[in-house]
């Protein structure tokens, strides 16, 4: 069996699902775009920073070269390498730069000519065997910038420097001589220039020598030198410019490369993609929180909303349940949305109608019983009984025994039938028998002032009729038609089946009625001062109560010609009648 879910649950779930779906779609779209943009930005930023560093380093090296050039020029122009003026000049130049460690001039035999600052050379040193010295002499006029190396010149000093060297012509002891000018520069400025920029928290910049792939500078240079750290230089060497993703390590890294023109070095920026995308991971987190918040809000709202919808329905249901229990005074609450209100209105209307109908039924039942009782009382009308018995006594006095027997027999049968078995419906045969006995008694009483006839079709005898219909009609005929008449009267009783209805007719040839009176009678508002007082109206109402407004009595009359009363009601066979009778009990 399918478990039915409540409207509230369905609405809530639907709202929530829809909201989550929408948010997820929007978030995914945003996230995708954002990640893409973040990546592009990371590429661009990294490249820009590298370009900047490269530019700064280029300028720095240019500056150093310029200083070197100035010194070169000053030495070349001076009268003698040993002149104090030159020394002073060089010293001044050097003092402007904190990164120049030392300047030294050697002649073509490798002898030291000039040394700033003045530090002792290693006694074991053979300058002519040093590679920088030889290559400077071999390629005159070319400024050589070395890779970082430990300077092996000065006593007890082993410093990492970058050396600039170039052949030089100068005057020594008045004679022009060839030699080599050497300037050592420390890493401080390079370190500063590379460290000042940031590529995220973990990102860094290192310098690479293009020709051999040696690392010139690295923030963890010693770790690289000690072999404790490796750098993926192949990737950086392959590209002259641009960015690439390095996937060799644990983390994806963005490697950006830019060459420094004047030394053949490359600036390599390493940044971590995960960092560049932290903003997007923050966005991610925000999005999850947002979705959670919205889901909760939607759940609350949809709960509220669906409660607003389903609560009136539930109230309506409760009202219906109390009606089920028989409390017809229940009034459904009409609060709530329009649809619910109109539903409640309809419901209330329906309950009111049902209530009215039920009251009507009760009233009908009551009036039925009242009329029956009245009809019964009419039969045992003491006046009638008195008259009859009085007639009987008179007849006994005249020794009309036969007539006495007839009268008493008829009287007794009359009462037997009218009491019946307490049923409302009786066979037509019994009703006709009852009418006959009544006529017999009245005939005796009125000393044959009238006679009567029955015209009854045999096939209707087994049908049922309401009891005590014919007797009031006959009484009516006698009292209003025959008795006032001077002539001997005649009462004809007939019963037949017509179009599925039973039609019973009582016709007299008495004084009849005027047209006005007939109208009043047909309208059911005529009253009579004579007779048992129950009479025709009782019959009319009982027929209509049982069988509906379509049935009942109709009157035809002409003054001095007589009156014809027709009773019409549906034909009911005995079995049906029993059921109908029972249902009316």
């Amino acid at each position: 069996m399918i478990r039915r879910r409540s409207l509230q649950a369905i609405l809530s779930a639907a709202f929530a699902a829809f909201a989550v779906f929408m948010i997820a779609i929007v978030s995914l779209a945003l996230y995708g775009r954002f990640t893409e943009t973040a990546k592009e930005n990371a590429y661009r930023n990294s490249q820009q920073i590298i370009d900047q560093v490269s530019y700064n380093l280029e300028i720095y090296i240019q500056g150093i070269s310029d200083v070197f050039g100035m010194m070169h020029h000053a030495i070349g122009r001076s009268g003698g390498a040993e002149s104090p003026a030159l020394l002073e000049q060089l010293d001044a130049m050097m003092s402007t730069r904190a990164d120049i460690v030392s300047v030294a001039l050697f002649d073509d035999a490798g002898r030291l000519q000039l040394d700033l600052p003045n530090v002792d050379l290693k006694p074991s040193l053979r300058i002519t065997e040093e590679s920088w010295y030889r290559s400077a002499l071999d390629t005159p006029g070319h400024l050589k910038i070395s890779l970082p190396h430990v300077q092996n010149l000065y006593l007890r000093q082993y410093r990492w420097v970058v050396s600039l060297s170039k052949s030089i012509s100068f005057v020594k002891n008045g004679k022009p001589t060839n030699g080599v000018l050497l300037m050592d520069v420390n890493f401080n400025r390079i370190d500063e220039l590379s460290n000042r920029v940031s590529l995220g928290k973990k990102g860094y910049i290192y310098l690479l020598d293009e020709s051999a792939g040696n690392i010139v500078y690295h923030p963890q240079l010693q770790l690289i030198y000690a072999g404790l750290k490796q750098e993926n230089v192949e990737l950086a060497l392959r590209n002259t410019y641009g960015s690439a993703i390095d996937r060799t390590g644990e983390e994806e890294r963005l490697v950006s490369v830019q060459s420094i023109g004047n030394v053949g070095w490359k600036v390599v920026g390493v940044s971590y993609l995960s960092e560049a995308l932290t903003t997007s991971s923050a966005l991610n987190r925000s999005m999850v929180q947002l979705i959670a918040a919205v889901v909760i809000i939607i759940a609350l709202l949809s709960g509220l909303l669906s409660r607003r919808i389903s609560r009136p329905i539930k109230r309506l249901e409760a009202s219906m349940r109390s009606v089920e229990r028989g409390e017809f005074d229940t009034v459904a609450n009409e609060e709530g949305p329009l649809e619910i209100k109109s539903l409640a209105d309809r419901f209330n209307l329906m309950i009111r109608t049902i209530k009215g109908l039920m009251e009507q039924i009760v009233a009908e039942q009551e009036s039925k019983r009242k009329h029956e009782l009245e009809a019964l009382q009419a039969q045992i009308n003491p006046h009638f009984l008195y008259n009859t018995l009085n007639t009987v006594v008179r007849m006994v006095g005249k020794n009309k025994n036969e007539e006495v027997v007839t009268t008493i027999t008829s009287l007794s049968k009359l009462f037997r039938i009218s009491i019946g078995k307490g049923k409302s419906l009786i066979p037509i045969a019994d009703e006709l028998e009852h009418a006959r006995h009544y006529l017999i008694i009245q005939q005796v009483r009125f000393k044959n002032k009238f006679d009567f006839s029955f015209d009854v079709r045999e096939d209707i005898l087994t049908h049922l009729t309401l009891k005590l219909i014919l007797q009031p009609l006959i009484e009516n005929s006698i009292v209003h038609g025959i008795e006032p008449s001077i002539d001997k009267g005649h009462i004809a009783v007939s019963a037949k089946l017509e179009n599925g209805d039973i039609v019973m007719v009582v016709e007299d040839n008495g004084i009849g009625m005027t047209e006005e009176r007939l109208k009043l009678v047909n309208a059911g508002i005529a009253t009579s001062s004579k007779g048992s007082g129950v009479g025709v109206r009782n019959v009319q109402e009982r027929i209509r109560l049982y069988f509906g407004q379509a049935y009942g009595l109709s009157f035809e009359s002409e003054p001095e010609a007589g009156t014809k009363v027709t009773a019409r009601f549906p034909a009911i066979l005995e079995e049906q009648g029993q059921r109908k009778g029972e249902s009316h009990e």
Binding site: R156, L223, R285, I296
Partner: protein, 325 residues
């Protein structure tokens, strides 16, 4: 009752939604607190004076910087001061560091200290000197016995596999000194042409004298000095006597002075270690141990043989002259 319960739940949900919304719109990303920031590593080395230990310290600092931990270093003023070092170590233990990197001057004396550290669940990383008197997490350093043998082998080659040699050891050489001496003796025995004629120990300040005595009392062709102090003393003595190359000297470790003497020809070969890496790895592994990771039982460091010719090879420049940044 039920209704108020439902209301409370709804209220709580609404509050949660409000908080989430606030976080989503205005919340700062929680700063990730790396565990390593809280890690405190205590480093106790053998001496605060020598170049060798200075370089070890540089390596340790590089690691501390890289991993963002707090590093505390102590050392006695001399390698010979085992008692002072032990006191420093015991003091350091009181501050309950997360890990200890220890280069011990003595083996047996540190037994109780190691037991104490183990009881306090503080991992101890032995660097430079192997400790056998208690539990250590790992050892990072050279095989000193092998290094001792290598020194004698180098001397053997310099002497043409023939000659009388002397051995000058550092008096308070501790574990390393003993192992190097044992290795040197073994190698001398194995070399058919070599004869170990004399053995001396010396300390700070008297190594020149000891070397002089060795040279005076024996006709030596070669000399092996088993640590930096001894090497310096022997080379100074040779320089003082002006015999460059007359008596071949194979020394240990490097310092500007030793390298200078090497370049000047008073020392033929130096057996050098990699103190920077040792310091770096010591701290790195200490962090790993403090984080509960398993360490290799031993990290063997290589030695390099430096002579006048290969001193300025790029590889050796990188090894011998740490870049200070």
């Amino acid at each position: 009752m039920n209704r108020s319960y439902g209301n409370a739940v709804r209220l709580a949900l609404a509050a949660a939604a409000a908080v989430l919304l606030y976080l989503a719109l205005f919340g700062e990303a929680p700063v990730r607190q790396t565990k390593q920031e809280e890690i405190r590593v205590q480093m106790i080395v053998r001496s605060s004076q020598s170049d060798y230990w200075h370089t070890v310290s540089l390596g340790a600092e590089a690691a501390a910087r890289e991993f963002g931990i707090s590093l505390n270093q102590v050392a006695p003023s001399s390698e010979g001061d085992a008692g002072g070092q032990l006191r420093q170590a015991e003091e350091a233990l009181l501050s309950k560091p997360d890990a200890i990197v220890l280069a011990a001057n003595e083996d047996a004396a540190f037994g109780p200290f190691l037991t104490d550290a183990e009881k306090k669940r503080i991992p101890v990383i032995a660097i430079d000197s192997l400790l056998t008197s208690g539990k250590t997490e790992t050892y990072i350093g050279i095989d000193n016995e092998l290094a001792g043998r290598e020194a004698v082998r180098q001397l053997n080659a310099l002497l043409g596999e023939k000659g009388n040699i002397g051995l000058l050891a550092y008096a308070n050489g501790g574990i390393n000194g003993k192992l190097r001496e044992a290795g040197a003796r073994k190698a001398a025995q194995q070399a058919a042409g070599l004869k170990l004629v004399d053995f001396r120990t010396c300390g700070e300040g008297d190594c020149e004298q000891a070397a002089g005595e060795l040279l005076d009392e024996n006709r030596l062709d070669g000399l092996v000095a088993l640590n930096a102090t001894a090497s310096e003393g022997a080379a100074r003595e040779l320089k003082r006597r002006g015999i460059a190359g007359g008596v071949k000297l194979v020394g240990f470790d490097s310092s500007p002075e030793l390298l200078e003497l090497l370049q000047e020809g008073y020392i033929q070969k130096l057996v050098v270690q990699n103190p920077f890496s040792m310091g770096y790895l010591g701290v790195k592994q200490a962090i790993e141990a403090a984080s509960g990771r398993r360490l290799p039982e031993r990290t063997e460091m290589d030695t390099a043989i430096i002579d006048k010719d290969n001193l300025f090879w790029m590889k050796n420049q990188k090894l011998l002259f740490p870049v200070v940044q």
